[in-house]
Assembly symmetry: C2
Homo-oligomer: 388 residues x 2
Amino acid sequence: MTVTAPAGFVAAGLHCGIKASGAPDLSLVATADGAPVAAAGVFTSNKMTAAPVITTRRHLAHTKGRAAAVILNSGNANAANGAQGLDDAQAMCRGVADALGCDPHEVLVCSTGLIGIPMPIATIVDGIPGLVAARSATGGDAAAEAIRTTDTFAKQVLVTGPGFTVGGMAKGAAMLAPNMATMLAVLTTDAAVDPDDLTAILQRAVSASFNVISTDGCTSTNDTVLLLASGVAGPPADPHAFAAAVTEACTKLALMMVADAEGATKSVRIDVVGAASDDEAARGARKVADSNLCKCSWYGEDPYWGRIASELGSAGIGFEQERISVSYGGVTVAAGGVAVAHDDEAVRAHMAQRDLHIVADLGLGPGTATIFTNDLTHAYVDENRGTS
Amino acid sequence: MTVTAPAGFVAAGLHCGIKASGAPDLSLVATADGAPVAAAGVFTSNKMTAAPVITTRRHLAHTKGRAAAVILNSGNANAANGAQGLDDAQAMCRGVADALGCDPHEVLVCSTGLIGIPMPIATIVDGIPGLVAARSATGGDAAAEAIRTTDTFAKQVLVTGPGFTVGGMAKGAAMLAPNMATMLAVLTTDAAVDPDDLTAILQRAVSASFNVISTDGCTSTNDTVLLLASGVAGPPADPHAFAAAVTEACTKLALMMVADAEGATKSVRIDVVGAASDDEAARGARKVADSNLCKCSWYGEDPYWGRIASELGSAGIGFEQERISVSYGGVTVAAGGVAVAHDDEAVRAHMAQRDLHIVADLGLGPGTATIFTNDLTHAYVDENRGTS
């Protein structure tokens, strides 16, 4: 159930001294022999791009999609640190390369934590030899522990297919753990897939998973998803099954993020159907998911469909108020733009659950979209009111 | 300091029975003689348009911009009520017209409160004769009281210019009072201005006032701003001064809304300067204003400039991270994309104030924009978690 489950990978995690709490804060995923393998990455679109993202992108471009290791730290995002930040990200890669015996370009780097705080780079570099020495084929759990920030549990996944295995680890999504400002995921597989195909597969998987969760609409400076393929198991007999497995692994990690969102008491699935197009459905679903008014109503277990309709009506998409219908847990509470008689008790029971399912039908066309989100609570406000 | 300050207007407010609390819930602004005068309106862009908005738009179109009265109720938004909602809005106008002796098309209507709940229309219609009978030249305060929902104080304004007076009243902005789902404002003036000019003046005033405040990015089903001109004082000698006075009145009401936003502890002015264009500056400022991460940091009095930069970097506007600088209360905390040494104590003192002022300079061009917003607090979550 870890990044070391697929053959050909080792990992480690430990406390090097970034976090004052003494919690693990430095993590490594590497190939078993220290040789580079096919690798792909998908990154934040935020132009306030963190140094590790810039560095990892450059390294993948330089090697044409090959990597021997990923080093990750929690407790500091190394974002908004200027030229020093780039030097520090480079120093982390060099430290791993020296210990592993590979080229620094073959090392990728991810950071998560506060923005705009200089990295304690000497502490990190001092910790790297011990981290690399600790790597093992059973180190996946420790690696996943060491990337946690406000996550209440380590997020790991394992998906098996015909002749291949996909493993992964992740930490809280952008606005799930916004104080820590980042969603990171590293996936591994024993399948042999060339870098270009791997990149295409990962991009599609991210679009269908991490990009359909939203908790507060913010985009981090550091968001990164990486996939390394050791090739030990040879090319997948069924390429479609492999792509599906990568998507499944990403989806499972994404849903764990929503379930563990900062301070959340509800996981909410929103389906918008009957839109003029899939794109309009997605924009409408995201407008509802990012609405503080809707989020507060879910926290209060209140099936206030008027807010759903109001958000869809102001989403800039095709909308006719006399066609909108809304259901909670399969019970239709509004149709044709007005409230309809329904089983109040069934709706109340649904709203009391942890997992809510809302369907809004625009009644206009064939467009559909699904997004996963969560509620807005006191605890979210508390986790984000200060950096200390 | 009320809608009855300009000559030619009367007003009233009372409890008719919509609110269980017994608080005032029915409000009237009318011309002193019951005859129609020039009138203009600006309305929500939400396609989930409430019945009173549809009705008021139709009436202004029918009369080519003339009205004798505005009736307003709080406690029910009359939104998402289908054909019945339109009938009810019409019944309110007819009730006032019957009592005043004018045409129903000369009556405008505004509602604020919960969405999707049928109006207690019999209660309202029964209350109208008493409301109209209670109208007086000193009734402005009572009218302003009766449109309050979660507002903690009645919002009124008076601006005088050379030979004219502009008065106004308002209730909390969309997401300031989102449970109640609406921002309403009624302005009056004794100036003589024709309906087309009045509409143009009001549209520009709204763009520069109500449209530059944002508390949670939501757009209500009922937002309405109306301006009636009695003409008693004759045409304004200085038309520019009149337009400026309308903008000033709207701005003062808008700032009262921000100061009284649900659960807010901070009023925040955000200036984005150095953008490629004014439009890009405005989009960036709004992205910051609507960010829950930024809002929580203001609540926590935390000058976390990295979040400001991160929001601007993901706003879809021109942005180069090595050019961004950010200041709090005039103290620059970041320049060239990195933190800079500054007077910590001065920043701490500024963040402890009720009114915060943040300037983000993109360093790219001449574009500037200002937006006013507030923080995100426990009290906001509480006010919006349920409808009961």
